[in-house]
């Protein structure tokens, strides 16, 4: 199981590196995102907005909104592991989908701690190494659209979205967000339609929630 996760992280990192330089970031900026931001979804959001000629501010906002779930993970891990205060700054940086999932899947305390650190450190090393490889490969390819790199980016986002489309609510949210993006793309500056879609998503979610809670 560890090996399959490692392979998945490796290829995901290579895709990110190549698509990032394709979107217009340089190799250093690409590596900075993986080393410092270290949360794949937000990194893809950042380069996705830049690729669509959006501003840095819009890229910042999209990446930050997508990172909110990491705050939820931090809270879960704190309750689960009760880490000593001095470790929290380091744990926070390693708090991502994979380390949280590994820790919460274990049954006793020591296993959870070991699971968190093994997955967190392992993914961190692999993710940064594969990002660099992808960025260097992407840099050497040349004309990226002739190689279909923009098409690869579309498939990459669809591949991130797909596993989350279980049940009616996520599908409805995806459709609403997609429509909001499509309608506002010609009207608003690049990058802003993604934020409109986020606002519409939050509004839709609040409305659905009220409809469910109040019979």
């Amino acid at each position: 199981m560890g090996l399959s996760i490692a392979v998945a992280v490796g290829v995901y990192g290579i895709s990110f590196g190549a698509l990032s330089v394709g979107s217009g970031l340089d190799v250093w900026q690409t590596c900075a995102l993986s080393a410092l931001m270290f949360t794949g979804g937000s990194q893809f959001a950042f380069i996705g907005v830049v690729a669509g000629q959006g501003t840095g501010a819009a890229a910042w906002a999209a990446a930050t909104l997508l990172g909110i779930r990491n705050g939820v993970y931090g809270m879960q891990l704190k309750a689960l592991i009760r880490p000593p205060g001095r470790l929290i700054p380091l744990m926070a940086q390693l708090t991502i989908d994979e380390s949280t999932a590994t820790a919460t899947a274990q049954d006793d305390h020591d296993e959870r701690v070991r699971g968190f650190w093994t997955a967190g450190v392992g993914v961190y090393v692999l993710w940064n190494a594969s990002t660099l490889v992808g960025a260097l490969v992407g840099n050497s390819i040349g004309d990226l659209s002739a190689w279909g790199l923009d098409g690869a980016a579309v498939a990459a986002f669809l591949g991130l979205l797909w596993p989350r489309l279980h049940g009616r609510d996520p599908v409805a949210i995806a459709v609403v967000a997609a429509l909001a993006t499509l309608l506002t793309l010609p009207l608003l500056p690049p990058g802003i339609p993604v934020l409109v879609a986020a606002a519409v998503t939050a509004g839709w979610w609040a409305w659905r929630r009220r409809a469910v809670v109040a019979p």
Binding site: Q29, G52, T64, V72, M75, V154, L158
Partner: protein, 103 residues
């Protein structure tokens, strides 16, 4: 490059959000609302980014070989292909489209 401040600013924001989960009072964050909203935002943002990368071109809509990539990626996902295969299939579909003279 002028992007640097935003790159570093986004990294800082990502870290502060992670840290906030550990440092903010449990009672503030320990509500299902946060889980649900974070989940909904993730789906909405990814759907929006998919559409923008598929048909957006600056401040306009352009229908081109990227639509082939979207369709091919969906077929690959339907067939339960692994992530990297989905990405490559999308790239190949767009490249083939351009070879055939599509925009």
């Amino acid at each position: 490059m002028t992007l640097w401040p935003w790159v570093l600013g986004a990294c800082l924001a990502a870290y502060l959000i992670k840290l906030a989960g550990y440092l903010l009072p449990q009672s503030l964050l320990d509500r299902p609302v946060f889980h649900e909203l974070a989940g909904a935002l993730t789906v909405g943002l990814l759907a929006s980014l998919t559409v923008m990368n598929a048909v957006g071109r600056g401040q306009s809509i352009a229908l081109d070989s990227r639509l082939l990539a979207l369709a091919a990626g969906a077929v690959a996902l339907r067939l339960r292909a692994p992530y990297i295969v989905v990405v490559i299939v999308g790239g190949v579909a767009a490249a083939v489209g351009r070879r055939l003279g599509l925009p």
